[in-house]
Symmetry: C2
Subunit: 392 residues, 2 copies
């Protein structure tokens, strides 16, 4: 060994209880799948796995689309793929923005040379369907983008009204489903979504590293009529399709991550997507009951606007949000997250998703949160655990 | 389970012997590292691993650079990162092209709006140092890009002459080190490389999924002076640096892949990079001795121009290249690769790299290749195994 390099101790990762906005706890079955032998990115077995993922993704996304594939990057690369492939310089690109991730879509579209127009709403509040519709009909953009599950605020945005208006003006609909896929209904077809992307490390219970995408036939038509090449070669959907469908070399996809994703998606199919959504809903409602019994408030006012995967809890007056998170991490090895942007210091973001959405975890995180809040000087008003248990 | 979804059998990956151009065989230590618990992308432990990777990458790349980081995509995303961050619309971008991957760099630069100029050389032949120098001095580009280890042809391109000329005209030097890092000298600093990128699944013996990058101080200066934003948000180096160095959220990096890369890099440090290069060189030379003893010819004429990681062997007259590969895959579960572009059907590409570069594997692949060639009607002239053994 070169003397310039110190000796490295064996890797020894802590056992975190992952109750943040993702990564969520990884299922033991997924860890096992990743131990299987790596095969080449052009191996017949690799393409068999990619084809299974194509079918399983259609099921998870509730779509009849067959153009379902995976970008070799995290969920953020899925966002860039969606924006880059369907934007041309000067395209009018409409964003419905009520959180950080919608803002990021706008930022990406601007970098791609689009003319970005925005309908904004306060962080933590959903859009009014009528306003969304009016905005789209007035702007007549080429693309309408929105975030179905806004990870920065915990809001579930209804896609349908904006999507209907988008189709009336021949705009494509991009929906960020990073925190909905595998945990609550995405409903690509019935919502009129043309391009949906997600990640692997939230509702699907896999490690991060891939971005599952689905594309509608009308979006494909638009893609084929592009006047300019997609600026990103790496995320060019037509090259990716030639790879996954035509077996023509593009990049070296990671067999290990594909094995993990296949296993995560098989678990969705075995449980049944509707059962899985019901599990997430039940555990979310129990968590909320516990939170409210403790005298805390959810950021998102109306129950129907809340994500079942990620709960946003307002930080009580006088409590140092960062100190609570630090306590949980250091004393309990629990990860939760704070807010950012206008919500910095004001909310806790607590995820119960994928393999991690269980009755035991609802109780565990409520109990630990109560302990950390007491340590920060806030005495819970009532018994959160009893209230939660009544809903489980 | 939804009745629309068939029941999926447990994943059962075949055990491939990976002697193609990558992925290479993954070390058991790396598989073990990937079993460790996923932590969050903002966890103190994650940043500790990222910092260790920063140091270890400096060692593997032979550089004093401290701007060493990892893009969350495959080696091809590293190429796109290098091109996108250092190209502005209209930038003059010079490519030294003697293979597929150099052509791809040119394609990416064109998509980024660069004015691409090319010095071309036949596939399988290196550049003349004087011609490379003259080209750069004549064109006076902003960027000079070349492929140190051309995976499509097996040529090791000397970087130094072009890099010296580039520095004289204040151009930055991008070098593709995808098939050199961890297997042969990259020598970022002494070669005058400003931006180097690589992958994880070749000389480092990890699964694919990350792109390790190093950036020189003068390249960073150029980056900070950009007049336009980088078109790719996902691969924006300044945002990535704010994440890895400043711990400011950007994307959800994959702890699992970082654990794997750390383990692969620790193994480079433990072995010593010079010892590791010597191992690759020895096994490569033994392989070549075996090939030549069998009456086959290497595509790359001069030994000093050959990669030690990836061997390109000319397909003998009358032999169906695809049939040989199919035989090896089906009868021996061995992956090797063919050529593409002008070399389609004309070469075998046989990798011995990372964990896979061993004396045992040299013997195994020579023996299996002789068997497959016989099956395809080619009788080896002499005893390749004996010739190889003499060099091991």
């Amino acid at each position: 060994m070169n003397s310039a390099i110190e000796r490295y101790a064996p890797l020894c990762a802590p056992t975190r209880l992952l109750f943040g906005p993702g990564p969520s706890p990884v299922s033991p079955r997924v860890y096992q799948a990743m131990q299987q032998n790596v095969v080449g990115h052009l191996d017949p077995f690799f393409f068999q796995v990619a084809d299974e993922i194509r079918t399983l993704l259609g099921y998870a996304y509730s779509t009849a689309n067959t153009f379902n594939l995976v970008a070799s990057g995290t969920g953020s690369s899925g966002m860039e793929l969606a924006v880059a492939n369907f934007t041309e310089p000067g395209s009018k690109f409409a964003v419905l923005s009520n959180g950080y991730f919608a803002d990021r879509i706008g930022e990406m579209a601007a970098r791609q040379g689009a003319q970005v127009v925005r309908l904004t709403q306060d962080w933590g509040r959903p859009f009014d369907a009528g306003q969304a519709r009016e905005f789209v009909l007035r702007e007549r953009p080429r693309i309408v983008a929105m975030v179905q599950a806004e990870t920065s605020t915990g809001v579930y945005n209804q896609v349908q009204a904006a999507a209907e208006a988008a189709h009336e003006v021949d705009a494509l609909v991009i929906a960020d489903c990073v925190t909905s896929l595998g945990g609550m209904p995405v409903l690509v077809d019935s919502n009129g979504i043309d391009i949906a992307y997600s990640c692997t490390q939230k509702g699907l219970g896999c490690p991060p590293g891939l971005a599952p995408v689905t594309v509608s036939p009308r979006a494909l038509d638009r893609l084929k009529k592009r006047a300019t090449p997609v600026q990103s070669w790496y995320l060019d959907l037509q090259l990716l399709d030639a790879y996954y469908s035509g077996h023509k070399y593009h990049h070296t996809a990671s067999a290990t991550l594909f094995y993990a994703l296949r296993e995560g998606l098989v678990m969705v199919a075995e449980e049944g997507r509707e059962n899985r959504w019901a599990r997430h809903q039940r555990n979310h409602r129990a968590f909320v009951a516990g939170i409210e019994a403790m005298g805390l408030r959810m950021l998102v006012e109306h129950p129907g606007d809340r994500l079942w995967t990620l709960n946003t809890v307002s930080v009580p007056e006088g409590v140092n949000e960062a100190a609570v998170r630090q306590y949980l991490l250091e004393k309990r090895s629990i990860e939760i997250a704070g807010g950012f942007g206008p919500l910095a210091g004001k909310i806790f973001r607590i995820g119960l998703m994928g393999y991690g959405s269980s009755a035991e975890n609802v109780m565990l995180v409520l109990e630990a949160l109560a302990e950390a809040l007491r340590h920060a000087g806030f005495e819970p008003k009532g018994n959160g655990l009893a209230a939660a248990e009544g809903k489980l």
